[in-house]
């Protein structure tokens, strides 16, 4: 079986498409997560592939589905957190051969194919549809939702996995070379100029603060709230390994990475896998967990004019994303019980929620909003999952939390200031991401 990247036609990227044709006809039911670790320990039992299988089996069991009934698998084949297998470094064949390998020995270690999963999960005897939603879980969710809606699969696993290796983030490869290609030197992003990953976001945040008269220290309540929510997320990295509340003082005294982005504004790279089981609304009624219906998915594909997106470009794109989200779901901002937009980097979460016009906010309002009650107990919860800041870099905590909140399975994170009926989650970047609207009811 050859697995292809999802075609562009599966993403809803423009305004004016109307209500999603499959609104309320696709549901998330099962959830599974592997344990988290900071980095791979080199053992066969703890590879990224092993984590993937663990998470998938958890999701299947959670939904109460016979594995033989599963006919679809959507995943992201790219699993790097920024760590790449060093060129020339020997691949441990004992690890490779511990599993049923594919033609690529790094499959299951530093990348992941659908073929590798199917070779190593013999219980999946009936998978006929596989597809890649490349980028992160937000991509895979959109692709799986669309595939179930179109009838290409009726019971579909959705998977995102991350590997992390020894070494500092993004410091190997081209960063360590004495020479770089001319095109790379002029390209956006990490070039010979030495920009850390969060640099672009830091500059947009700096421009935001100048325009609206805000400051970096106004982020402290958001950061403390995110860590608090993360510590209430037993599947997350900080809850499992470093259960330390982040105080405003901790945050404000942290070292800079790319000022005005400091250490905690950057999410911590980890190893983890997450999986969901999607099915039709009809089949979901008979499954073990309460269905969470998908009202819409929408994607942004913003293009900047030059090297870095300006604040104007970011705000234009996020506002358009908000309109697409609501249009396809047939709802308004007032219908949102909560938001779980992406936060890794912390300094762009405000762009996402201002674009949503969450709780009526306009551009420039979010940091003032953070100074009020944004807790899970209040009427205006912000990022109840805690996001990547609260639980490490997975880019899926916000999706898991949205499903769990609506299912009534969020445990200590359960929203008490609002009844969780409709939520939105997604990301990653304000200029390019994929977003999903979740609901307790199909209409």
């Amino acid at each position: 079986m050859t697995t292809e990247n999802a075609p562009a036609s599966m993403y809803r990227t423009t305004e004016g498409l109307g209500v999603w044709e499959h609104k309320g006809k696709v549901a998330a039911v099962g959830i599974g997560h592997s344990p988290t670790t900071r980095r791979w320990d080199g053992t066969a039992e703890n590879t990224m592939g092993a984590n993937s299988i663990f998470a998938l089996r958890q999701a299947i069991a959670d939904a109460g589905v016979d594995p033989a009934d599963i006919d679809g698998l959507v995943l992201d084949p790219v699993t790097t957190t920024g760590a790449h297998w060093p060129p020339g470094q020997e691949i441990p064949m004992d690890v490779v051969n511990h599993w049923n390998s594919t033609d690529d020995p790094l499959d299951g270690i530093a990348k992941l194919s659908a073929e590798w999963i199917l070779k190593n999960m013999p219980e999946l005897t009936n998978v006929k549809f596989t597809m890649y939603g490349q980028g992160c879980m937000s991509h895979a969710i959109v692709v799986a939702a669309q595939a179930v809606g179109e009838g290409r699969t009726h019971t579909c696993l959705v998977l995102k996995s991350w590997h992390n290796l020894e070494g500092r983030y993004n410091q190997s490869g081209v960063s360590a070379q004495d020479e770089v290609p001319g095109s790379f030197a002029l390209a956006p992003g990490r070039t010979l100029w030495g920009a850390p990953g969060s640099y672009g976001t830091a500059l947009q945040f700096a421009e935001y603060c100048r325009k609206y008269g805000k400051s970096h220290d106004m982020m402290a309540p958001f950061m403390a709230n995110s860590r608090r929510n993360g510590l209430l997320f037993p599947e997350g990295y900080w809850a499992q390994h470093r259960p330390e509340q982040l105080t405003a003082e901790d945050y404000l005294n942290a070292r800079w990475i790319a000022k005005p982005a400091n250490l905690f504004d950057n999410d911590i790279p980890i190893m983890v896998s997450g999986a969901y089981l999607f099915t039709t609304a009809e089949r979901a009624k008979d499954m073990k967990q309460k269905p969470v219906y998908i009202l819409n998915h929408a994607s942004s594909r913003g293009a900047q004019r030059s090297v870095l997106p300006t604040l104007d470009e970011v705000e234009k794109e996020t506002a358009e994303t908000g309109r697409k989200i609501y249009e396809g779901a047939g709802i308004t901002a007032a219908d949102l019980s909560f938001e779980n937009m992406y936060d890794g980097f912390a300094l762009f979460h405000q762009f996402h929620i201002e674009g949503l016009r969450y709780r009526g906010m306009q551009n420039g309002d979010a940091l003032d909003f953070y100074q009020k009650d944004i807790s899970i107990e209040g009427p205006d919860p912000v990022l109840p999952s805690g996001g990547n800041i609260g639980s490490g870099r997975s880019r899926f905590w916000m999706h898991t939390d949205s499903i769990q909140q609506i299912q009534g399975r969020a445990g200590a994170r359960a929203l008490t200031g609002v009844k969780p009926e409709i939520g939105v989650s997604g990301g990653p970047m304000p200029m390019g991401g994929n977003f999903t609207v979740w609901s307790a009811t199909p209409d």
Partner: protein, 136 residues
């Protein structure tokens, strides 16, 4: 700060050749009368490659925005941390941006909006790179 050396490729060779001769040139679509940076195979507006040319610029611009890099992924620059990393916009078209370490400007004392002019610095392999200095 000595930056990584540069190996010009087919797309960017005119840019780097001009830099070696002390000129700032940028890709321009003559049909759209529109500059673009980074360079690309086609015009980002009309999507055609037919009218792309390299145009000499004045080398004058403004500081649009900046950050201070304290944790740099590029090995060759790590001993110079912390350093300014600014975005410059061109006077010919404020929509076009270039990076700069702002040589001569103290760290984190960056006059956003100030006028700058291009200079050229030698990289690790001798290729000249456009840089920007505040106009005093």
């Amino acid at each position: 700060m000595v930056k990584q050396g540069i190996v010009p490729d087919e797309l960017t060779k005119p840019f780097w050749d001009a830099a070696n001769e002390g000129r700032l040139e940028m890709q321009n679509c003559s049909a759209c009368n529109r500059l673009q940076n980074p360079p690309a195979d086609t015009c980002s507006q009309c999507k055609s490659a037919d009218n792309l040319e390299w145009k000499a610029l004045s080398g004058k611009g403004k500081i649009y925005n900046y950050g201070v890099v304290y944790d740099c992924p590029v090995r060759l620059l790590q001993e110079d941390q912390p350093f300014n990393l600014a975005v410059i916009t061109l006077d010919e078209d404020p929509g076009i941006q270039m990076y700069s370490h702002l040589p001569g400007t103290p760290v984190d004392v960056v006059p956003v909006g100030a006028s700058v002019e291009v200079i050229f610095e030698k990289s690790a392999n001798g290729q000249m790179i456009p840089e920007w200095q505040v106009v005093s």
